[in-house]
């Protein structure tokens, strides 16, 4: 499998599913909080990312519990987990190499 760098939006959506299933609004809120209000994922961007990642098999939609049956819940698949882990390794490498060159 070939890994390509993820966009920030894709990365954060996957990250916000790491701890367990989450719904669209929850993801948006978590991303906002994690990024200190810097990154907001709008509906158009969210739909593009979610539908694409479902197609790629990185996330799946699951049935919610009774209270939020109406909300769609998304869950990370094994493949999605692998994509996310590999991206974190890649990002770490970038930062380490930057530190080496910039001498910090």
């Amino acid at each position: 499998m070939k890994f390509e760098p993820l966009t920030e939006s894709y990365f954060y959506i996957l990250l916000c599913l790491y701890d367990g299933p989450n719904h669209g609004y929850g993801i948006m809120q978590d991303v906002l909080q994690l990024s200190d209000n810097r990154l907001r994922i709008g509906s158009g961007t969210m739909y593009g990312a979610v539908s694409n990642m479902i197609k790629k098999g990185w996330i799946i939609e699951i049935k919610g519990s009774d209270e939020d049956r109406r909300k769609r819940l998304y869950k990370l698949t094994d493949q999605g987990y692998e994509i996310l882990s590999n991206e974190v390794i890649r990002l770490n490498e970038l930062v380490q190499n930057a530190s080496k060159v910039m001498g910090r």
Binding site: S9, S43, G44
Partner: protein, 208 residues
């Protein structure tokens, strides 16, 4: 009735979709809430209580009901209300305007990649139609020139004009800072030259 709804005939081209959003917002400020949006006409009802911001989004989802449901659900998640869709893949959404909220509340494409994807969805379809129009115009010009049917001249003219307008639209729809690939540049230039050549050809055939 009568004074509570109205229809406005106004053509909005795809590449001016952001201007259309501003226009719909201004209508709402004036007390006219959108009931149905469209490329050629739009329908409004009186609403002096609430002001809405609008989003016009291009996403041909086909006939797949589940896809459309997911799409609308994700917009509703963030407070957008679905208004309607057109036959050719444009969707209208509204959200009540609150000047206290940050502008970002009303942005649906929040990164470059996704806005380019959205615009390119339209560009891909427009490109196919533009090339088909160009082929038609050449075809109609050749049958006119070979003396079969002089009445086809107007068809040749209309299709080459259509191709030119779409070429212009495709240029407008691509983000300015986005690079054109060599192949795309070549298609653009060839299309431009051929469309103009057909128009010149039409004039020439008409004179002799």
């Amino acid at each position: 009735m009568g004074k509570d709804t109205r229809i406005i005939h106004k053509v909005f081209t795809a590449w001016n979709y952001e201007k259309e959003e501003d226009y719909l917002f201004n209508q709402s400020v004036d007390g006219w809430e959108l009931l149905r949006g469209g490329c050629f006409y739009s329908k409004y009802k009186r609403n002096n209580e609430k002001v809405f911001k609008y989003k016009v989004d291009f996403n041909p989802l086909g006939k797949d009901f589940n896809k459309k449901r997911l799409y609308v659900d994700i917009f509703e998640d963030q407070g957008w209300e679905y208004v309607n869709s057109t036959f050719n893949g444009w969707h209208y959404f509204k959200k009540e305007y609150n000047p206290q909220l940050p502008e970002e509340e009303y942005i649906v494409y929040t990164d470059r990649t996704s806005i380019i994807e959205m615009r390119n969805r339209w560009v891909t379809i427009a490109r196919i139609i533009q090339l088909v129009m160009l082929l038609f115009s050449i075809y109609f010009l050749t049958i006119t020139a070979s003396g079969h049917n002089p009445g086809m001249l107007i068809n040749a003219l209309l299709y080459s004009l259509g191709s030119l307008i779409l070429l212009f639209g495709i240029r407008k729809m691509r983000l300015e800072e986005e690079e054109w690939s060599q192949a795309r540049k070549a298609i653009n230039i060839l299309s431009l030259i051929s469309s103009i050549a057909v128009i010149v050809g039409c004039i020439f055939v008409n004179i002799i």
